[in-house]
């Protein structure tokens, strides 16, 4: 037992010999929990996860003997945890509307029994290693929870429980370790959040994460196991975009970490998700989702921890062979929490008050993403999507610039687009993806071999129109040639008919890869037809008046992903709209039609 020496904001100086850095401590009469971040002789410096008001020097303090860990087992899905994995619904029942300090509620429910089916490959006497599957629990209708051997266990399985219902406190097996000690196995185990969970080896990421958002999937793809960042000033639609990804992406598990963000946003997710169906399995979305919430008004130290809690939960499902997406909103708040504690420790600030280790911490965090081969021989992945909230929308600030060096897919949000309510406000010039080559293989195989060239053509068109727009802004549209005006018009068609996507429109909210490609191909087709005509001498203003252009802008919300046959029929009819003009400008329209791809 030790005692409190000094209280300074969330930092507490303790007289507590023989603690280990990172160890959990319980402090004061209220039993506030925190972790040791510094030692000096018999003095330990701890940061507390809860508000320290009311603590006094002289009150008791004790080391708990373990680092900040999470409980991993059945009961995780559909839950909402705070930054140190306290279950917020259970806390609500226990302490009311406001989070009282010092509440101790186990992360996973202890009274619930789960139906455990042992793995037939695990007879008594067999060798058991960390990560081996002991059996399964059907946690929700869509997710089979694989019960894993804790990663560091290696030994002889003495006994495994038969099929039946077990609570988390009941042992489901015993194992004799190499040193002869006998260890009990449970449906859950603990893992320290700041240590990445081990796996057999890293794999190449191969398949794109399909989010149903055209600007993301078609233009700046992300792979399952990849890392992406969404930077954007406030009001650019970061949260909306992340919620769209959480809703529609084809991952099996989605972990949403609200780190220092608005309370109402999490409420939105909590109220909204159970009503929505997973587009891939038809089950309620909440069955595959779990939330970690440390809202902006909750204590800052737990905010720093919340990111690690989230990623550890993600790794745990990865180790069961699932494709997991973790959305961290926002990494800037995490970095600020880091800065706040560093400031109180008197560490030398480098850029904008951030400590020197900001870059390395960020890099180490994003490194926990990836597609791996698990110890059980399965393949699982963690895809990491981090929101960044740059002050004043300035992408050169430390968190954005460090993140940009680490990630592979960069979905830059633009204030200008958002102001015109062009959503998702992903800037097509500033964004990038390092995964285009790998994604192209998948698209060629699954959707259309021309995906890569169509994507490139559309991006060229957008870039060209940006140049032209500059000219127009200087001298007006009349100064452009017909060819240039048509290019500008076609780029506008792509922006409005393809890139812009309404999250609230039932049909438009999600677009399957097939629909995405069909739309892209159709709009490019219109562009090429028009270009042919312009080259034949037709003035662009005649083309711009074609009703087809206004119609094509509505296709995205008129045709569901499930029945794109109708859409394809419309695409096939595109040449008809050009026919009258073609007849006017050429002697034999049929030859032109054949020449058009």
């Amino acid at each position: 037992m030790g005692k409190i020496l000094e209280i300074n904001g969330p930092l507490v100086k303790l007289d507590l010999p023989q603690t280990v850095l990172g160890e959990q401590v319980r402090v004061g009469r209220m039993g506030l929990v925190g972790e040791v971040i510094g030692r000096d002789g018999d003095t330990a410096l701890a940061q507390l996860y809860e508000d320290t008001a009311g603590l006094r020097p002289g009150e008791v303090a004790e080391g708990l003997g373990w680092p900040l860990s999470v409980e991993l087992g059945p009961g995780l899905l559909g839950a909402i945890f705070d930054g140190v994995q306290r279950p917020l619904k259970a806390v609500w029942e226990q302490s009311g509307d406001r989070i009282a300090r010092g509440v101790a509620v186990p992360s996973l429910p202890r009274d619930k029994a789960w139906h455990f089916v042992p793995d037939p490959r695990r007879p008594a006497g067999s060798v058991l290693a960390g990560g081996d599957v002991l059996g399964t629990v059907q946690e929700t209708e869509s997710i089979l929870h694989r019960i894993l051997t804790p990663p560091l266990i290696h030994g002889e399985l003495l006994e495994l429980a038969p099929e039946g219902d077990y609570t988390l406190d009941e042992a489901i097996g015993r194992v004799r370790l190499a040193d002869g000690r006998i260890e009990k196995l449970h449906l859950f185990h603990r893992w320290p959040v700041r240590t990445p969970r081990p796996f057999r080896q890293r794999d190449h990421a191969v398949a794109p994460l399909i989010t149903g958002q055209r600007i993301l999937d078609t233009f700046y793809p992300l792979l399952k196991g990849g890392k992406a960042a969404i930077p954007g000033p406030f009001g650019a639609g970061k949260t909306m975009l992340q919620q769209q990804i959480a809703r529609w992406c084809n991952a099996e598990i989605v972990i949403y970490v609200g780190c220092g963000e608005r309370g109402n946003e999490l409420t939105d997710v909590l109220e909204f998700m159970p009503e929505l169906k997973d587009p891939h399995t038809g089950r309620p979305l909440m069955e595959r989702t779990l939330l970690v919430a440390n809202t902006s008004n909750m204590p800052v130290v737990a905010r720093e921890a919340s990111i690690y809690v989230g990623i550890t939960l993600a790794e745990y499902f990865r180790d069961q062979g699932y494709d997991v997406v973790m959305v961290a909103d926002s990494t800037s708040r995490w970095a600020e929490a880091l800065r706040e504690v560093a400031g109180r420790l008197g560490q030398m600030p480098v850029e904008e008050g951030y400590p020197a280790y900001l870059g390395s911490r960020l890099a180490a965090f994003y490194e926990r993403a990836g597609r791996v081969e698990t110890f059980a021989g399965d393949h699982g992945s963690v895809t990491l999507i981090g929101a960044v909230s740059p002050p004043g929308g300035d992408f050169s600030e430390p968190v954005t610039s460090h993140t940009k060096e680490i990630i592979q897919t960069f979905w830059a949000l633009s204030k200008e687009l958002a102001d015109a309510r062009h959503y998702p406000a992903v800037d097509w010039l500033e964004s990038f993806s390092g995964y285009v080559k790998s994604a192209a293989k998948w698209w060629a195989q699954e959707v259309d071999p021309n995906w890569e060239s169509a994507r490139a053509e559309a991006l060229d068109l957008l870039a060209a129109s940006e140049e032209l727009q500059r000219i127009v802004n200087l001298v007006g549209v009349e100064a452009l040639s017909s060819e240039q005006r048509w290019t500008l018009e076609a780029a506008g068609l792509i922006k409005e008919g393809l890139l812009q996507q309404s999250a609230t429109d039932e049909v438009d909210s999600f677009a399957s890869p097939e629909k995405q490609y069909a739309l892209l191909a159709a709009l490019l087709d219109i562009y090429r037809h028009g270009m042919k005509l312009v080259k034949l001498g037709a003035p662009a203003r005649r083309l711009i008046q074609l009703p087809l252009l206004a119609q094509a802008r509505r296709w995205k919300s008129q045709h569901k992903s499930e029945d794109i046959a109708e859409l394809k029929a419309r695409i096939a009819a595109i040449p008809d709209s050009f026919d009258p003009l073609i007849q006017e400008y050429t002697a034999s329209p049929s030859t032109l039609r054949e020449a058009t791809p």
Binding site: E6, G96, L266, T267, D268, T295, R339, E340, G346
Partner: protein, 460 residues
């Protein structure tokens, strides 16, 4: 310990006093200082160790004589006494009466810092509040339980806009305003405070208003307490007495500057523009107290007013606020100079909760699409206006000229309205269609074809 007076101050500087030899003082507890002239000041323990206790003094440390200062540690946080009688009262920033009436006596005294609301206990705001202002109702709707700040600048009519909202706010289908108002002013001028007071008086709501005033010439440190005291009262009115509370706070910039002043004295590491790294968390503690709670009838809707230093929306205070609040109403100098009232610059304005509070079942089925179309058409029109400024309006095509006319009419008739003009949401939407009808139907792709057929008045 509450009754012992210590005379062990070892140093005093810029609002902070260090006390020696006072063991076991609780962090965050309230302190009472009595100086040699007998004047009582109050303070807060911000750092506590057995050998030294650091105290922040709200009234400052001017004319403090270390040897003749007696300090009592009250052993509890700052608390506000609460009862039904607070309605109609005027308090100072620390919750003491400034209307000459006796203090509120109540056994119910609450810690002004509050406790964080469990996200699982929140109910999502969905009920549309009609403010009667088209630029807000039509394009940036307010919902009950939302926090929607007004970003403004020196000399702009933010106070008049806030007062108009307070006068006109109501739920659809209800006649009279049923909100009670908590008004907090920190760093505000006497004339601003009087303006609000008179406005409440004129509309006859004074007995439904609670005011917390810390004016520009009053102690700076007390400003840190003012919004917290006001929100503690608001929480009591909303969640204990089931009222719908509208909280108007002005000016958040003065609050943040007070925070910076104290942070510098404490020696905190500055982050941006000298503001401490915890400015975000601190602002969040205030703003996040707005909202609704499951199984409770009342709600807190918050309208903080914030003046952007040199009209810069990327300044840390509006910037961090925008990341916490659920949108912002931005007032612009350009419109104000053209005589448009309220000068709401709609493009950077936003209401994040609008999507869930408007449309079918809430306002009218075309509302979300009309709003989106107004944004798109007006953004396009501003581009054309920029072009016209360069090449001259004569060079524009007919279509572009119509767009320009739309922009002018939109600013004058849709954004602009009288200070006493209370437009219903139907009037606002019909007006929007009247203006959109100036544009060709085929250019309006954010609204559906059915809506065009029903509401568009031009030939297609």
């Amino acid at each position: 310990m509450k009754n012992i007076e210590f005379r062990t101050a070892t140093s005093a500087q810029g609002g902070l006093v260090v006390m020696a030899g006072v063991p076991g003082v609780a962090a965050g507890s309230r302190v009472q200082l009595r100086d040699h002239a007998g004047r009582i000041r109050s303070g807060l323990v911000i750092r506590s160790a057995d050998d030294a206790v650091l105290v922040e003094v709200f009234e400052g440390t001017d004319a403090l004589d270390l040897e003749r200062t007696w300090v009592r540690f009250l052993d509890e946080p700052f608390r506000l006494p609460l009862s039904r009688d607070i309605m109609g009262r005027v308090f100072n920033g620390a919750g003491l009466p400034r209307d000459g009436r006796p203090p509120v006596i109540s056994a119910d005294r609450r810690d002004v810092n509050g406790e964080p609301l469990n996200p699982a206990a929140r109910a999502y705001p969905r009920e549309f509040i009609q403010t009667g202002i088209s630029a807000i109702d039509g394009m940036n709707s307010l919902t009950r339980g939302q926090k929607l700040p007004i970003f403004s600048g020196g000399g702009l009519p933010h106070n008049r806009v806030a007062a108009q909202i307070v006068r006109q706010a109501k739920l659809l289908g209800e006649e009279a305003a049923e909100f009670v108002v908590v008004f907090a002013a920190f760093g505000a001028s006497h004339s601003d405070a009087r303006f609000f007071q008179e406005s409440f008086e004129e509309s006859g709501v004074l007995n439904k208003v609670v005011m917390f005033l810390n004016l520009a010439d009053e102690p700076v440190i007390e400003r840190l307490l003012t919004p917290r005291a006001a929100l503690t009262a608001a929480e009591y009115l909303a969640f204990d007495l089931d009222h719908h509370v509208l909280v108007v706070m002005t000016d958040m910039t003065a609050y943040a500057e007070a925070l910076r002043e104290v942070a510098v004295l404490r020696g905190d590491v500055p982050a941006r523009k000298g503001y401490p790294g915890y400015l975000y968390s601190d602002l969040a503690e205030i703003y996040e107290r707005a909202g609704r709670i499951k199984n409770r009838r009342g709600s807190i809707t918050m309208i903080p007013v914030l003046s952007m230093p040199s009209d810069d929306i990327t300044h840390p205070i509006p910037d961090l606020t925008g990341y916490i609040t659920e949108g912002q109403i931005v007032l612009g100098r350009e419109l104000a100079n053209q005589g448009v009232y309220p000068p709401v610059t709609v493009l950077p304005s936003l209401s994040r909760l609008m999507k869930d509070g408007v449309g079918k079942n809430f306002t009218r089925e075309d509302h979300p699409h009309v709003a989106s179309q107004l944004f798109a058409s007006y953004a396009k029109a501003l581009e054309v206006r920029g072009l016209a400024a360069i090449i001259g309006a004569e060079e524009l095509s007919d279509a572009d000229r119509r767009t320009l006319e739309f922009a002018d009419a939109f600013e004058r008739r849709f954004i602009g309205q009288g200070e006493d003009e209370d437009r219903s949401i139907h009037e606002t939407l019909n007006l929007a269609w009247e203006l959109l009808s100036m544009l060709p139907a085929e250019s309006l792709i954010r609204v559906s074809e059915e809506e065009l057929a029903k509401y568009h008045r031009g030939a297609a």
